[in-house]
Symmetry: C2
Subunit: 386 residues, 2 copies
Amino acid sequence: MTGAVDEAVLLARAFLLRVAEPPAPAVSHLAELLGPVEAAERIRGGADLGPHVGAEVDARRHDDRSAADLAAARALGGRLLVPEDPAWPTAAMADFAGQPGHADWVAPLGLWVRGPASVADLATPGRRSVAVVGSRAASGYGKWVARDWSASFVDAGLVVVSGAALGIDGEAHRGALAAKGTTVAVLACGIDRAYPASHGRLLEGIGSSGLVVSEYPVGAVPARHRFLVRNRLIAALANGTLLVESGHRSGAARTALAAQELGRPVLVVPGPVTSAQSVGNHELLRKGYATVVGNAAHVLQDLAPVGDLLTPPPEREHRSPPRPTDGLSGPAVRVHGALRGHAPKTLPDLVRESGILPRAVAGALDELLAAGLVVPDGERGWSRSV
Amino acid sequence: MTGAVDEAVLLARAFLLRVAEPPAPAVSHLAELLGPVEAAERIRGGADLGPHVGAEVDARRHDDRSAADLAAARALGGRLLVPEDPAWPTAAMADFAGQPGHADWVAPLGLWVRGPASVADLATPGRRSVAVVGSRAASGYGKWVARDWSASFVDAGLVVVSGAALGIDGEAHRGALAAKGTTVAVLACGIDRAYPASHGRLLEGIGSSGLVVSEYPVGAVPARHRFLVRNRLIAALANGTLLVESGHRSGAARTALAAQELGRPVLVVPGPVTSAQSVGNHELLRKGYATVVGNAAHVLQDLAPVGDLLTPPPEREHRSPPRPTDGLSGPAVRVHGALRGHAPKTLPDLVRESGILPRAVAGALDELLAAGLVVPDGERGWSRSV
């Protein structure tokens, strides 16, 4: 399946993934600028590539295990998916571009994968995938919602993406598998590991019909910061993120926040105010950038209702021509897209057409106004200024 | 307590309340223009006052029971509260002014009241009162929230306003009474009636420590349309309305909508997505103009956090000088108020300072932009244009 990609590119990206702990913005930019093969050669050769690249690679630059890592993945029936591969999830990763306020916010240098499913079209227009996430310490209510709704999502043709953790994540994968659907597990460790241990059988099931995905090479152990880094990939691989249950200051809300930073809808399941497991969900709703969903149909409604307004995938050349929206936030780019055409659009139009939330649309309009890209037009409408 | 008001005014307003089924916008405007005594005289005398007034009074203009109605209320220990009385809830009724799109949207011509509590300062700045409403067919969960939170509200010094119905309303009053607080019941029938019959003792309790309020004279029976008309008064008497539980297309959501039309916060208690009694609440949240609240403290936070930004009470003269905000919606007036001062304000500033919700603030900014009253100012800010 990766026959189209030169082995030198695979070795180079395997090297870069191992040598620089993700996310590695400086190495990513270097690989974009020079191509992965030359970037890997220069790093391996000990060239002085400046303090940023140096900080990312100095600890491990002499530890080239790329051939072994590729072999280990292949021995498991896995492979390394790279941006040069037609099966790379280009659309899913597009929103990482142009996040200037978030230096760490970069697409992965490659993804170790195991399983038959394709992630190529995830997060492309048309409600292809939904991330279903939540606390490890889930209630019976939350587990029921995760499992039942995930089954409805696959019935509607969606791929269910989650993190294979205990609690909500596990139920989301189980609901998708039970409905004979495709589910993708994004891990914070190597694709060979059963973590948590009690999910060994579940991960086998995902690997045989869906896909197990990780930025980390075979053998890599889960570490606290890797869960946080991993969460951005769960959000990126989905058209929107559904937070089923989260307690006060729960880590689960971070995946939802990642989705929000990518300009993707954040959907939140309400729960009883008497349940500690829903406190985080209600806090997120109160912050104003998440939408409450009362059933699985609401989720389908809210995932990119107008598909063709998603940000187009970036140019595959190393340097793309400047666009007026370069440097804008994801929501601003999305709202600018929704303003295509001649008729002015109102705030509710823009909410509907951009598939993002009223507050985010309002913030995006502020940003576009400040950038001189939109003007008020007519009674309650907005238009592009150019 | 009404000694300050001339008996002729009381008789005139008692007549107007009986002769014109509320809400009676034409009669209300006539009473404002001519004063209640002259308005009542002309109607009683059969003068041709045009088709609008005619339509409101023709059925009952010869049926003057004003003296009997006043006597009946007094016999119950009640009285007629009128706008000429210093105890009239002026601030509560102020938001009825300037609702041009809503012809029926007028303050009552007077209020029949029974009980020791004062409504004079309800809905004035500073979180004086909260409306707690919801379905008759409430779940144990909803009843618990209504009762428990209402007790917290009175502990925080608030008056709890509701409609004395079965289910959520009853529990709200009971929670307030149990915590030795003040609670106000707004009825869709005369203040003498126990409706529902099983709430006879509860209404006695409210009448002895709080206040029973109605637009309808003693003896008036509850009718379907009167519940809808009554709901606007529940919303008006409170700084914000809390919807505890409501099913799909529940009537309880109407009070929340009334609050929204008055520019007051609409707060919604989430519930399990598996509960039919919370479906209406989640629908309302999805419409984008209500805020989720996870505990009683959230409610206190959301009720006019910056008190002095409430719309000032209208001039008491018959014709007040025109203001730039005349004709604008309640939220637009509120946001215009929040833009007081010299520093530009961002959307989050305005949400915080106006005490209304992001989407409503965004809509209000559209309206103010169209009216030429605000301008974008600086990176993400807004200022008054005059």
